[in-house]
């Protein structure tokens, strides 16, 4: 690992997100200081220069996401002010048009438009504000391009919301096409499992053992009375609610998204289709199940759990769906407050299976998932996991103050592949000099 650059002081407060654009030539940074900055890479010297800088929200920014460039230069930002905003970069000379578009917002718009109070330094125009969330919007992610200009958000009210842009030319009209309470969404699509088998496999005759029964109870309590009980993990309300989302990048399986919500430690893989309610294809549950599950709709960890009793579940705060890149399976990485980075190998249902079981109910695919890697190197809560563009390198960030990288070996075993920290090292006296060249000041 080598350091290749530095922005000395990006914001006036801690950063919250810093996604690259599609090409990696720009970086959008969001901060607690409520501002978004867009930085441009100068490829000749590797320096980053701030291009635009504006106050985007009335509270800290939580996440930023770039839309696919075939839709234009668009970002979505989510915030603790419970809103999601859509921003478009306007080219020079088309400012009047921006005005026109704002005026255009006619009937049918679900979001009230605010007057774009954009500072003159910014070419980014606020096109729409989505105000449906009843809590902090913790994550926002545009769907893969083939599903059109769509956006998923998840917020501390446990709700996963999908928005669809109805007018790509103006970006002003976003329709809330799905709104799902992730916790309340049954873990399986079997209609009979609605009331009782809250977090259990599809088989209706599957008996509830202690562990999963307590999970069920917990989940029920969560959904009914989301506050006022003692929780494992961080032990405060922050652990509640929706945390993270990640779209399946493949077109083939339809609109599928992984969502982590609540403190159960379970990530649900949810399928959305225009004709039906969203259904859970699979629940990624790392807690060991003592009985062999005949149904595979709930994936369980294969990690050896011989000695201790069932660990207390913790919130999964980050999920990342790897680009499948022609693999016959999907890789979904999760990071959570239990300090674990896990990589799940998720296999979609065979077409044959689906035909046999699914009979017109296209959703009854038996997706399966197993944990292929489970790392606790961070030894503290994991805040973020992310894949590179080919799904070959996973990065994870933990409260141990290190970013860790993970790669698969020739035998397809995932292994540590380096780490980055901010500790002083002895040799750094010398390095300081060289790094100054790359220092960027605003």
């Amino acid at each position: 690992m080598i350091q290749t650059g530095l922005i000395q002081n990006a914001h006036n407060d801690l950063l919250t997100d810093a996604p690259y654009d599609f090409y990696g030539l720009r970086l959008a940074t969001g901060s607690i200081d409520q501002r978004i900055k867009v930085w441009q890479l100068d490829e000749s010297n590797g320096n980053w220069k701030v291009e635009d800088d504006w106050k985007a929200h009335d509270a800290a920014i939580s996440k930023i996401c770039w839309a696919h460039p075939e839709f234009g230069t668009i970002i979505a930002s989510s915030s603790f002010d419970r809103t999601v905003k859509i921003w478009e970069q306007t080219s020079f000379g088309s400012q009047p048009e921006a005005q026109v578009n704002l005026n255009l917002n006619g009937a049918g718009s679900t979001a009230p438009l605010q007057a774009a109070s954009v500072p003159s330094t910014s070419r980014w125009v606020e096109r729409s504000t989505l105000v449906d969330a009843r809590g902090t919007v913790r994550a926002v992610e545009f769907s893969p391009r083939h599903f059109g200009l769509k956006l998923a958000t998840i917020s501390s009210d446990n709700h996963l919301r999908i928005y669809e842009c109805l007018e790509q030319s103006s970006l002003t009209t976003w329709q809330l096409s799905e709104e799902v309470d992730v916790l309340a969404l049954p873990s399986t699509s079997s209609p009979s499992s609605h009331s009782v088998a809250f977090a259990t496999p599809t088989q209706t005759n599957a008996t509830l053992d202690g562990a999963s029964a307590s999970l069920v109870a917990q989940a029920l309590q969560q959904s009914q009375a989301p506050s006022g009980q003692t929780r494992p993990g961080m032990g405060n309300r922050e652990a509640d609610g929706g945390w993270c989302i990640s779209w399946c990048k493949d077109r083939y399986w339809g609109e599928v998204i992984a969502a982590g919500s609540g403190i159960s430690g379970v990530v649900k893989i949810i399928h959305m289709s225009p004709s039906r309610r969203p259904t859970t294809l699979l629940a990624l549950d790392p807690s060991p199940t003592p009985y062999p599950s005949s149904s595979e709709a709930t994936a369980t960890a294969l990690a050896p759990t011989s000695d201790t009793d069932t660990p207390a579940p913790h919130a999964i705060t980050s999920v990342a769906w790897a680009p499948s890149c022609g693999r016959s399976y999907h890789l979904v990485a999760t990071g959570g407050r239990d300090g674990h980075v896990r990589i799940w190998r998720v296999k979609p249902a065979d077409e044959g299976d689906a035909d046999a079981d699914g009979e017109g109910e296209g959703s009854d695919h038996r997706w399966t998932g197993i944990v292929v890697a489970d790392f606790d190197h961070h030894r503290s809560a994991v805040g973020r996991v992310e894949w590179n563009i080919t799904g070959t390198v996973l990065s994870s960030a933990g409260n141990d103050g290190r970013i860790r990288l993970w790669k698969a070996t020739i035998g397809n075993v995932w292994r540590p592949a380096g780490s980055i920290g901010v500790e002083q090292t002895e040799e750094q006296q010398d390095n300081d000099v060289t790094m100054d060249e790359n220092a960027v000041t605003e």
Partner: protein, 730 residues
């Protein structure tokens, strides 16, 4: 080149070993990976929800840095040259394996096939050698420090040449003894004893008095360097001891006559000669043993022991050779090579691993020395293990070795069920990933990926689709000079064309289309509508084409007719080609047609060709190419023409058409779907309500009524002008 696995960035935020401090301060790191080159941006964030730790106004006073780190160093110029030049050999090898798969699996074993494999393998060897020489020579301190040292390239060269010696022999020599070749490899790459030593000794009058004399002589004998050996045995003819003189006299012809495989046309002759030669060595041994104990020391050394060692080497006594090597500080490689020359002159490639296993038991390779581990694995007949170490040394080496190894069936060809990759694909993709650290090498990254199966192809898609097209940099030039700009546009499109061609080459049609769509989107933003349109059609993105036309029409709403007509001039030429092209893009073509015709109309208005403008207007309605949303605008446009006082510009029937359309708009508006017909007019006239637009159309209605009145009046006195030019009658 190995980089540290554990990086700490600068400026540091906490002291050494105090990573906890960060968490104690309620802070933690997060990272995001760059699609450009897999580098990682690292920044500091809050552990807890910002809402709970931060009240308005209280901000973190510290700097908020963003660090950038990368797993690999971007290849420097010398390395890049190496990468691109070897990629040519790689490409040639891909062609070869393609030919092989077309000609059947046996073909690579045929004379023609294996000669070609060997030729390309030797190309790698020779090329790495050149790189080594080049890198070693350019150790000029004034020059920039090389990213990879000369020694690194030497190592690649040595590994590759050992690989060819052991696994890619000349055709027909697969089953031939390997000893001589191995010793040659050792002598080329690990020169011992040094030339300086020889020079020093040869300069002495009585070199045997030098402590290095005998070790030197033993080493040159061991290495089969008969020239040097015979020279110094010649010197020993001056030695005061008669026995030694005599024995030296006898050993010289022996050393000179040791049979070498290359001198024989048939192996049978070679082994016969070897046996004869060994018999002579035995005779020498007998003579040596006859020397009485008392004469065995010359006062400096026990020459007899040393001479005996040399004879033992010639005899090929394994344990003695091993001991001699240990004494000389030589390693297992030397023992193994000597084994093939002296102990078992008929040692075959397939038998080498057994010998090496024995040697390694006593003289293990240095586990901290990757290079040595690679040699050990290659000697031991374990190519997979060699790759494992090679990958650590340099991903280049593992990828290119694996490529040849698979072709020669030295490694498993089956796909690993878990990863979906073969061994070769794994290493080639790892190398490609290394290449990705330099975005400028995207062509090579893609080429290597595309030669690595299904997963490789799809990985290449991710790279290809993200090649920065740099279409957007126009504004940064700040240059408004038209000629410069068009040159720039051509240059930028060249990159886009390059990506397009690469997509064609590897049949990545889906990617090509997406790239075209993204390019079209950028061109729209840059108001290069002509280019946008052509890329939409190249992507067969008809809906996108419609959107481009919409944007052009927007220009009319936003900036008026002059700008609009200028932009349409860009897109008009494409209309002709679409018309002739069949396809399911009808509705969007109509929109394009409308844009072009509407621009023509405005051009005529600007040129004050009102008569033609009026005819255009009517024709557009007649041919039903006007989108409903534009009816209001066109009807409102007609006012100026209707009011034209010099002549009546519309035929009676034409005016009727206007009236008809006008009434339809009013009727639809009354039914509640006025928006469909009036939205553009509302925007054009900055009307906030539908009523304002309708009021405007009422003006059209009034003007139209007056026009009919004028028609009636003039109709009594003469024909309207329009009918003088056309055959329309009413």
């Amino acid at each position: 080149m190995m980089l540290r696995d554990r990086l700490n960035v600068v400026p540091p935020l906490v002291g050494a070993g105090c990573a906890d401090e960060l968490a104690n301060a309620g802070k933690t790191l997060f990272g995001t990976q760059s699609p450009l080159n897999d580098s990682i941006a690292v920044a500091v964030t809050s552990i807890r929800s910002p809402q709970s730790v931060r009240r308005a106004g209280s901000t973190d006073a510290d700097d908020q840095p963003v660090y950038f780190a990368s797993a690999d160093m971007v290849p420097s110029s010398e390395r890049r040259l190496f990468i691109s030049d070897t990629s040519i050999i790689y490409a040639a090898f891909q062609n070869l394996t393609e030919t092989a798969s077309a000609k059947g699996p046996e073909w690579l074993q045929s004379e023609e096939g294996s000669r070609m494999v060997r030729k390309l393998a030797m190309d790698y060897v020779n090329f790495t050698k050149e790189c080594w020489i080049h890198a070693s020579q350019s150790s000029d301190p004034s020059e920039e420090e090389l990213q990879f040292s000369g020694d690194h390239y030497r190592c690649l060269y040595t590994c590759f040449s050992l690989f060819t010696v052991l696994y890619v022999p000349e055709y027909g020599f697969e089953d031939a003894p390997v000893g001589d070749e191995l010793m040659e490899w050792l002598n080329v790459h690990f020169i011992e004893p040094s030339t300086e030593e020889g020079d020093h000794l040869s300069g002495l009058e009585h070199p045997w008095q030098d402590e290095n004399f005998w070790p030197y002589l033993i080493r040159v004998t061991l290495r089969g360097l008969s020239k040097a050996a015979t020279f110094f045995f010649g010197v020993l003819l001056q030695h005061p001891c008669d026995d030694l003189q005599r024995l030296s006299q006898e050993i010289i012809p022996l050393l000179n006559s040791q049979p070498r495989l290359q001198d024989f046309s048939a192996e049978r002759d070679f082994s016969y000669a070897s046996r004869r030669w060994k018999d002579k060595v035995k005779t020498l041994r007998i003579e040596l043993d006859r020397v009485p104990e008392v004469d065995r020391n010359d006062g400096f050394d026990n020459w007899w022991d040393r001479f005996s060692d040399i004879v033992s080497i010639l005899e090929g006594r394994g344990p003695v050779v091993q001991k001699i090597c240990e004494d000389l500080g030589a390693d297992w490689k030397e023992v193994s090579a000597a084994w093939g020359v002296f102990t078992d002159a008929r040692l075959r490639r397939q038998d080498l691993p057994d010998v090496v296993a024995q040697v390694l038991e006593d003289m293990p390779p240095d586990p901290t020395n990757l290079e040595d581990m690679i040699y050990a694995a290659l000697f031991s007949g374990d190519p997979s293990k060699a790759l494992l170490h090679a990958a650590q040394l340099d991903p280049w080496l593992a990828a290119h070795l694996a490529d040849i190894m698979e072709a020669l069936s030295l490694i498993e060809r089956d796909v690993n069920e878990d990863s979906g990759l073969t061994i070769r694909e794994y290493y080639v993709l790892s190398y490609a990933q290394y290449l990705h650290s330099d975005p400028a090498l995207w062509r090579l990254t893609v080429a290597y990926m595309c030669s690595s199966g299904r997963i490789g192809l799809h990985s290449a898609d991710e790279i290809l689709i993200r090649v920065p097209l740099r279409l957007q940099d126009k504004h940064r030039i700040g240059e408004r000079d038209k000629s410069v700009e068009s040159a720039r546009t051509r240059g930028l499109s060249a990159l886009l064309k390059d990506v397009n061609e690469t997509c064609f080459e590897y049949r990545r049609e889906d990617v090509r289309r997406v790239v075209c769509r993204m390019a079209a989107q950028t061109f729209v933003q840059e108001q290069e509508y002509g280019l946008a349109l052509s890329y939409c059609s190249s992507a067969e993105d008809w809906a996108g084409l419609g959107r481009v036309v919409d944007r052009v029409l927007e220009e009319y709403i936003a900036n008026g007719p002059e700008q609009f007509t200028r932009y349409v001039a860009d897109i008009a030429p494409s209309l002709q080609s679409y018309r002739t092209q069949p396809g399911a893009h009808g509705i969007f073509i109509y929109r394009l047609m409308f844009a072009v015709r509407y621009a023509e109309f405005h051009q005529r208005m600007l040129n004050q060709e009102y008569q033609d403008a009026a005819r255009d207007l009517i024709t557009m309605f007649k041919e039903e190419i006007v989108p409903k949303s534009w009816w209001g605008v066109l009807l409102s446009d007609s006012i100026e023409l209707l009011r034209y006082s010099t002549a009546l510009l519309f035929s009676h029937s034409g005016a009727y058409i206007l009236l008809q359309k006008l009434e339809e708009v009013f009727m639809r508006a009354a039914q509640g779907s006025g928006e469909d017909y009036l939205c553009m007019l509302m925007r054009k006239s900055n009307a906030s309500r539908e009523k304002e637009a309708l009021d405007r159309l009422k003006l059209t209605r009034l003007t139209l009524a007056k026009y009919f009145a004028r028609c009636t009046v003039i109709g009594t006195g003469g024909r309207p002008i329009a009918d003088q030019n056309s055959s329309a009658t009413f």
